[in-house]
């Protein structure tokens, strides 16, 4: 029971209190890209959560290996990168061989797996000394946080497009950046700090 509550609390924290996309910029470029396609939000949430959970669980297990903690940070980063790349390649091979996935779907797979958000989750788990359940919750929360950010950006960009009173120089990308900045400000208010102390 405690494990489930830890998992849920960490997931909720990752989504609402310290939204990884809006409060720390992780996966922000991908969130802005995906925000133009609301129909893909569910798919991305599942894929990012799946990759984050599998990667963070494997990395959490590796963290328990004796001697790993004494590695320099660069060594840990290389191990985590190898895990993420391995998880992506195995998943893509399964999709390709077993499910005959199209190259287009595999491309979406790549965007969901190989981005700063998914790669950062093992680092966050390690720096926050998350338990196994926390690591799973953090992975699930990463996917939901991504979709929440993409949905907020999507709605805001629709309103910005309709607004005729925005000065010409600020139309489009500049106003989008400022809008995302204001969203980030809101989440900074919740978090009350930067991600890594």
């Amino acid at each position: 029971m405690k494990m489930i509550s830890d998992l849920l609390i960490t997931a909720l924290f990752t989504v609402f209190i310290q939204n990884l996309v809006l409060s720390s910029g992780l996966g922000m470029s991908e969130a802005i890209r995906v925000s133009t396609r609301p129909g893909t939000f569910g798919r991305f949430a599942l894929m990012i959560s799946g990759f984050s959970v599998v990667t963070s669980v494997i990395c959490s297990l590796i963290n328990t290996v004796s001697g790993f903690a004494s590695l320099p940070f660069a060594g840990k980063a290389a191990v985590y990168a190898g895990v993420l790349a391995g998880v992506y390649i195995i998943a893509a091979l399964i999709m390709k061989i077993v499910f005959r996935a199209s190259d287009k779907l595999l491309g979406t797979f790549g965007i969901a797996a190989l981005n700063t958000l998914v790669f950062a989750v093992p680092f966050i788990n390690e720096s926050a000394a998350y338990s196994f359940a926390d690591a799973i919750g953090s992975g699930i929360g990463a996917g939901i946080a991504f979709v929440l950010a993409a949905a907020l950006i999507s709605k805001g960009s629709e309103a910005l497009e309709r607004n005729e009173s925005i000065p010409e120089a600020f139309r489009g990308t500049p106003s989008m950046l400022i809008y995302v900045g204001l969203l980030s400000l809101a989440f900074a208010g919740f978090a009350d700090s930067t991600l890594f102390a």
């Binding site: 890209r33 133009t36 660069a74 980063a77 190259d103 120089a169 900074a188």
Partner: protein
């Protein structure tokens, strides 16, 4: 059509007119989260440039015949192979005071969308020389943004520049947080937009298309972009080199 674009052509378009951060909106993560001081921004610029050069060279020279879905993790691993030693060097020899957050964001540059976009949509389809030109142009474009945001955020947020005290009447602590950087980037993007509209009017004519499509997902099947398209194209052609297509409904609005 210019079949042999010069470095100047590629630099002008890759670094200025279609700046990766301000126009293409790629590579936002390290800029927003980690360029809080000028020194950190400089360290990230070094890491990003090394990563871009190595990955673009490898993509152009060795990875053409590998399926795309396999190439992307290869860029990532190649980047990690070169970025981790840089991080280790910074860490071991204490070249700069690296915070934990900074340590995390240096390896994150290896998985950055700037690298994937430039390798996949340009380097892998052009010669090594042009791939390196493009890597240099985009590296300069990203580095300039890193350094500007790093300097402004450090001065306004901490009242220092490269660690030295700066006498300003008030500090804005929010500038060191991601939202401060995003708002700053918005103003920089507006400035760049006004500048390019004045001096490169071809962009102004297609501005709506650029903004409508800059955030589009990169499709898998693209017309093969060539160096001459990149060097002499108008915006539509350039967007095609990035794998971006203009949605039909956006055309309808116009």
């Amino acid at each position: 059509m210019n079949k042999n674009p010069s470095f100047k052509d590629i630099l002008k378009k890759g670094a200025l007119i279609y700046n990766p951060v301000l126009v293409q909106l790629v590579g936002l993560c390290p800029v927003v989260a980690a360029s809080t001081t000028f020194v950190q921004a400089a360290a990230l610029s070094v890491a990003m440039c090394i990563e871009l050069f190595v990955a673009c060279f490898a993509a152009s020279a060795f990875l053409r015949n590998i399926p795309r879905w396999m190439r992307v993790p290869v860029y990532f691993l190649i980047g990690i192979m070169f970025v981790c030693p840089v991080l280790y060097y910074f860490e071991t020899y204490s070249l700069i005071n690296i915070s934990l957050g900074m340590k995390i964001y240096i390896p994150l540059t290896a998985i950055n969308s700037v690298v994937a976009v430039h390798c996949e949509q340009f380097a892998v389809k052009n010669s090594v020389r042009l791939a390196l030109y493009d890597a240099a142009a985009s590296g300069i474009g990203v580095s300039v943004i890193f350094l500007i945001t790093g300097a402004v955020r450090e001065i306004l947020g901490n009242a220092t520049f490269a660690g030295f005290a700066v006498n300003i009447p008030v500090t804005l602590r929010g500038m060191t947080l991601p939202f401060g950087c995003l708002i700053l980037l918005g103003f920089l993007a507006a400035g760049l937009k006004a500048f390019t509209a004045k001096y490169f009017p071809v962009r102004e004519e297609k501005e709506e298309a650029a903004e409508a499509t800059a955030a589009e997902e990169v499709p898998e099947t693209n017309p093969v972009p060539t160096a001459e398209e990149f060097a002499s194209s108008d915006l539509d052609e350039f967007l095609k080199t990035l794998g971006i297509e203009i949605p039909a409904e956006e055309d309808g609005k116009k």
